[in-house]
């Protein structure tokens, strides 16, 4: 049954003595809006912008892709203390990476995780963080070949910035849970080692309102959850 539900791939087993969660996030466009099919009109497309398309004004019309919305962060918060919770996984952002041209997605991390900031370029970089609260954390200079490590001590969206550049080098959503993953709308996200019992499941997106729900996880099997991102729950202005 699990094979049929998942398609041709077998889902990983739930860890012994643990609960599993399969989360699908649905991105819902505004009720009444008809998303355009992926088509060729340059002013209504889904393609990421280039410097040239920004210059011409075409990129401003790039549409939100509700069929494959990315940058969604999903996390699980068990209601009861979990002595078997894994340690937060490390995160890496290369501050010397010159391959970036703009927004490159949002990474997921847990509060308490270590963020490594290597500099693989030949140029020193002055690095600082900007949190969605407005708080700024100065990291200082990272020399070529060097690496700084920082513990992520607060939750929320954090932008890794380099001095003199307007665009963030990378962004990380720091969740208050070790069970946190990135998601794309419609694609299941699996957690295999969560404490059985009641929990709350959240999804977040940098632009669209997210949602959360209560769930009950059972030992040895998956529980299916569907969450939504979208504006339809916001207060309407007549």
């Amino acid at each position: 049954m699990l094979l049929a539900a998942c398609g041709c791939q077998t889902a990983p087993r739930v860890e012994p003595g643990r609960g599993g969660l399969r989360v699908i996030v649905k991105a819902e466009p505004k009720i009444g809006y008809q998303p355009r099919p992926r088509e060729t009109h340059p002013m209504d497309g889904y393609a990421p912008p280039t410097p040239e398309s920004w210059e011409s004004g075409e990129s401003a019309y790039t549409a939100v892709d509700y069929s494959g919305l990315d940058d969604i962060i999903v996390w699980v918060e068990p209601m009861e203390r979990d002595d078997r919770a894994p340690a937060p996984g490390p995160v890496v952002v290369d501050v010397g990476d010159e391959g970036h041209r703009g927004h490159h997605g949002i990474g997921a991390a847990s509060v308490g995780a270590t963020l490594a900031l290597p500099n693989a370029s030949a140029r020193p970089e002055e690095v600082y963080f900007v949190w969605d609260s407005g708080e700024v954390t100065n990291i200082g200079r990272v020399r070529p070949g060097d690496e700084r490590s920082v513990k992520l001590a607060q939750t929320g969206l954090m932008s890794v910035m380099r001095e003199g550049r307007k665009q963030p080098l990378g962004q990380i959503y720091v969740a208050p849970s070790v069970w946190v993953k990135r998601a794309i709308s419609g694609d299941p996200v699996l957690f295999t080692d969560v404490r059985p019992g009641p929990c709350r499941v959240f999804c977040w997106h940098p632009r669209l309102p997210g949602s959360d729900t209560l769930s009950l996880l059972h030992t040895g099997r998956y529980t299916d959850i569907t969450l939504t991102v979208g504006v339809n729950g916001l207060p309407k202005v007549p």
Partner: protein, 207 residues
């Protein structure tokens, strides 16, 4: 956020050509914002908050501030208003493009619904101070900010760092700053405004 109180340079000076305040009991606060680093000045505002939180000021709620959505861009992309004021979001696209303006910011959550050019502009009144990030649910890169100041006494800082806040009733305030892309410590300091023009220069420094 940790706030740094940088010593303010204050001087009172009578401007040439007569009093710029329209009310005998009002002053004006103007000056320059400078940064210690060699970077460009961030897009930012200077505003006053009454020292007495209970003190209220009259706000012209009849006049809405218009925001264009032409080219799938909010213009202005940073709107600064006083609490109690209204913003009208106008769909003035040159072709039949829908927009759906919304915000999920704690200071104001709203969804204006879908509307096309030619439809009446949609109005939102903002009551709570703070930043309100606005987006379009259709266009991925369309975003802006409505910053709601606690009083009608505010100014956007010019590219050269200059600002001017006119017609400020004499009294005790706190002078504050807000940067759209935070880099420097925000200012937050007491300010006594007298019924005459005053110069207040602000220096922003990194934490």
């Amino acid at each position: 956020m940790v706030l740094a109180v940088v010593p303010l340079v204050i001087s009172t000076a009578r401007l040439g050509g007569g009093d710029s305040a329209s009310d005998r009991n009002s002053g004006a606060v103007s000056g320059k914002v400078v940064v210690t680093a060699s970077d460009a000045l961030p897009e930012m505002i200077v505003f006053l908050e009454a020292a007495d939180a209970e003190k209220k000021f009259e706000v012209d709620a009849s006049q809405a501030v218009a925001v264009s959505q032409r080219g799938a861009l909010f213009d202005p992309s940073l709107v600064v208003i006083a609490a109690g004021q209204t913003v009208e979001f106008v769909n003035d696209e040159s072709r039949p493009i829908e927009h759906n303006v919304f915000s999920r910011s704690p200071a104001k959550q709203f969804d204006l619904g879908l509307y096309r050019p030619g439809a009446k502009g949609k109005k939102v009144t903002f009551e709570k101070p703070g930043p309100v990030r606005i987006f379009c649910s259709i266009h991925r890169y369309m975003d802006g900010v409505v910053y709601v100041c606690p009083t009608p006494f505010f100014a956007k800082v010019g590219a050269d760092g200059s600002y001017e806040i006119a017609n400020v009733p004499a009294g005790n305030y706190r002078v504050k700053t807000w940067q759209r892309s935070p880099r420097y410590s925000e200012q937050d300091a007491p300010l006594a405004v007298k019924a005459e023009p005053m110069t207040l220069n602000l220096t922003l420094s990194r934490k």
